[in-house]
Amino acid sequence: MTSELDIFVGNTTLIDEDVYRLWLDGYSVTDAVALRVRSGILEQTGATAAVLQSDTMDHYRTFHMLERLLHAPPKLLHQLIFQIPPSRQALLIERYYAFDEAFVREVLGKKLSKGTKKDLDDISTKTGITLKSCRRQFDNFKRVFKVVEEMRGSLVDNIQQHFLLSDRLARDYAAIVFFANNRFETGKKKLQYLSFGDFAFCAELMIQNWTLGADLKELKVLVADKDLLDLHKSLVCTALRGKLGVFSEMEANFKNLSRGLVNVAAKLTHNKDVRDLFVDLVEKFVEPCRSDHWPLSDVRFFLNQYSASVHSLDGFRHQALWDRYMGTLRGCLLRLYHD
């Protein structure tokens, strides 16, 4: 006796969160059943393995049918086929678009193209996330990217409107889109210590405060003009003397650090070089400071003073530009400065 056909259709679509999780995680029905058995559900409910198999199949089928709608979440809200309470709809969408930290770190800043998609096999092996789940996450990134790529207005708002994500998740997606668009390098070994949260934090600051095409080259004078550089250094050193635990190290390194920070600005004007932003920040600032054991509070003191002292440089005319640049950069650096 074999079941040829076995279905359950509710007027309200039944969503089992546990099974949804397993489905999203890319487990096959067989694996999902095994995992559910292991969770002790049979003992709890007195059900048989056959019942569990049938139930799992049924949920998988439902999710499969819902997936098409989840690709355009507003459709899920307006479709008539599945009657799903709004809170459940929200849950379905939110979970579908949720991603794994390990996965996003692998893909962040990469071009969301077929080429990358081919690498998903390796990512799956490396992260232990099933290939199916990797594909879903990758396709989600790509889909969101495609939809909002050409749109005007706030990135977060656009994402939220078209994908109905929570504020938090929409911000994360904004970061992913921003990184994919600028192709920031995040995979280098020296960047491995950074979490997605670190990058997303920086992305948000950059999206909010930076506009493309600003003439950041103008800032270069701060390091190119030797007098200006010396003046800047002396202003900072005067202000920080006695207040910084790592004063001597700072004094010794000031020019290198300053050069590093200003050159980053200059590089931002070239699309090609933009990609190295995080590498540069880590190489030129985070690592030198870290090797001298600057405490975070000293970094903060330094960056504040470094940023503010420019106002006293009479020869420098791009105060506003500098403030916007350094305001964001300071935020990013402070976030990036950890072990």
Binding site: F8, N11, P86, L91, S166, D167
Partner: protein
Amino acid sequence: MPGKLKVKIVAGRHLPVMDRASDLTDAFVEVKFGNTTFKTDVYLKSLNPQWNSEWFKFEVDDEDLQDEPLQITVLDHDTYSANDAIGKVYIDIDPLLYSEAATVISGWFPIYDTIHGIRGEINVVVKVDLFNDLNRFRQSSCGVKFFCTTSIPKCYRAVIIHGFVEELVVNEDPEYQWIDRIRTPRASNEARQRLISLMSGELQRKIGLKVLEMRGNAVVGYLQCFDLEGESGLVVRAIGTACTLDKLSSPAAFLPACNSPSKEMKEIPFNEDPNPNTHSSGPSTPLKNQTYSFSPSKSYSRQSSSSDTDLSLTPKTGMGSGSAGKEGGPFKALLRQQTQSALEQREFPFFTLTAFPPGFLVHVGGVVSARSVKLLDRIHNPDEPETRDAWWAEIRQEIKSHAKALGCHAVVGYSESTSICEEVCILSASGTAAVLNPRFLQDGTVEGCLEQRLEENLPTRCGFCHIPYDELNMPFPAHLTYCYNCRKQKVPDVLFTTIDLPTDATVIGKGCLIQARLCRLKKKAQAEANATAISNLLPFMEYEVHTQLMNKLKLKGMNALFGLRIQITVGENMLMGLASATGVYLAALPTPGGIQIAGKTPNDGSYEQHISHMQKKINDTIAKNKELYEINPPEISEEIIGSPIPEPRQRSRLLRSQSESSDEVTELDLSHGKKDAFVLEIDDTDAMEDVHSLLTDVPPPSGFYSCNTEIMPGINNWTSEIQMFTSVRVIRLSSLNLTNQALNKNFNDLCENLLKSLYFKLRSMIPCCLCHVNFTVSLPEDELIQVTVTAVAITFDKNQALQTTKTPVEKSLQRASTDNEELLQFPLELCSDSLPSHPFPPAKATSVDYSSFADRCSSWIELIKLKAQTIRRGSIKTTMTVEKASPVGDGNFRNRSAPPCANSTVGVVKMTPLSFIPGAKITKYLGIINMFFIRETTSLREEGGVSGFLHAFIAEVFAMVRAHVAALGGNAVVSYIMKQCVFMENPNKNQAQCLINVSGDAVVFVRESDLEVVSSQQPTTNCQSSCTEGEVTT
């Protein structure tokens, strides 16, 4: 030209991409009614076209309005080749034809294609202007209301219940052989859908005419079915109960009538005082003399005999067997005279109702059923479907005579069904023989309150259990006792009925679903030989089904079955029998005896041991069940009842002419003798198997109850959460050495596993009850068994029972002891209820939590409304402060998603097979929903195989039903039923096809919590009624 139909096509959305090049669609719409077609402009390059058309006006006869569906076709314009159809919407405009229902149909309808399923939605507005036309010869029956609900609809009052109406129409099936056809699948499916829609319209109109003839204004319990007879054609038939209904004007007025267990109007004919208001014309105390005979088994007597032997090869001209009806003489009691005079004008005193106005049902005799095996032949003249009419007339006649044999003049809870395999068709009819109160059956019965007052002092809630037949002249032996409630009348030891449990019946403990399942192999044969083989098997199947039901009932410690439905399905090489019913313990009936096993060969020691072991197991099961279902009948001592057993009554008449059917009855004695304990004789291995299978039925997990009736006996504190569902399973039998036993086991496992799956799926609703569990069996192919289940899970509150019952208990302290007994039940119930531990960890974070889903939804809609307002006021605020961790807040979420169409929120539409919605009041009936869909695929694998295909289709059917209800302005469909789900597959060709027919009543309901003003009046009414009662009884 008495009507003008106006249609406006507003917009479309989510259309499929029809032009691959542009990824867009150039859509336009054809609107067709009758032979007139209008077209909208082509809306270029959009998946969300805004046609905003003019009003298309059709000037039509109301006859056409009733018959024809409005047909809306969405097409993709193509300059160079033929336009491609995207899909269709059929709209039944019948609900617009009577004043009290919907006034406009307006909303988003899924665009349906028989090959691709739902492909986007279309927004349509439909209106009808009806001109008053007093043409005497009119063929239309506009204005007659139809209800699927098998009780008097909640916001109406029955003035007169006229009785049975039936009609059938036949036609050639445009394309029944779907696999090898000439036309395209789409064309043939659409032709069938349209034809069936037309035929249903015509049928409904014809039934309506009959109702008008009877001077009624409504059909209640309307049941329409299709017989896909294959080569011989397509039969659409319907039965119903004609009524004259009065709309209860204010909701306050109908609340008490619907809700309070009706204490009014009990058994007028039994009143000791001649009641001036009943239509009595003779002495008024005749009924004590009226002693009838009974056995519940009666119903299973070989009623199929007369017709299943003659195979209708020689059509009978005289209407069957009924000579019993003409018997006269002194025996006839007053009631009988009255009601018969009322009923005799009717050819068939049948009622499709299963629940009745208070006082309507006087006595219940038992189940009557008849089956007949017919050979289908081509219907030559569709306009005169005489053969089919004659077949049904024959069966009905038989039912009528069976009822007479039980001393009953009417049949309630009546239904008809067919099972077809190739050219053999089994016609079945069943119902419950009953004695009715004539009050509702005649004109001029609008009585004042006075009468109701008088009636209230009649304490009997057990009347319907009292036997209606002659005790000394019982059709065959049965065990009678005095009623355990009133001690005045005789009651049978077991009662089987097809109706719902009367609301005022006193029940002990809770009820449960009881099923008898049976398979019988039969040889493959052709035509007459096949029909004969089936006819020969039928009585045995009926017998076995009955035995199983009886055994299982006893095993549950219960004594009555309600909602009994026996389905016999015929296949190529087997017959399947499935009986479902809800078992209860009626306080009025005696405690059932146990089951005793007796071995035939007592000399073998080990055998004896085995027998005693089995006996112990059975006894344990009975004890366990009694505990599970809380069956603790109070020890009734004579002192408490206080009414001595009356003197032996004077028999006015002992002789009675035997009706044909009571002759048959004696042939096959199903009563199993009259013994206190039920003896099962184990004389062979078969019997052993039977006993084993008895014990394999697993009770539902704790926290779950199930029944196939409207309400679960013993549970009254429903909460508002409901989940209607359909589940389908098909199993393939291994064709090797199929034996009856193996078949039975397979079938039994199939049903049990299905139930287990349901319990598991719905576990998050615990405590809950599966109500109206409706199993349908079909045999689509040689080795395939298909079981389709539709039911509704309703949550209930264990703790709330205390609160709701307290008041009546306090208020009715002065009531008679019999009443107290019943009320005391509740506290007892509670004690035992709270004890069993919860089987699943309650509210575990991971479990599916649907609780208060409805509340959430409504508050969500509130929120949107609020937002909409604030937006209109110009204070748009994009909320960015969502709690980070939790999933999106609803309101917030919705606000952002603001789609192109501002008010396209999909409203929740509830669906339920019940006639009511727990925790809510139905305020308006919008009309009947009766939809027929065909879905077909030629890419079965790609659509997820048979399961994927059918899953999607059923979800689509639900969606289309909801959309139609919403467009009528409703928010629920009640008395929903999936009448047909015919599934065929051809995996080799990667094809499958499915036909589904559903119906129900579209309604508007209002949550009780929203009716605070009204409900606050209710306690007052309750109080009054119980006060008056108290006065009278003391």
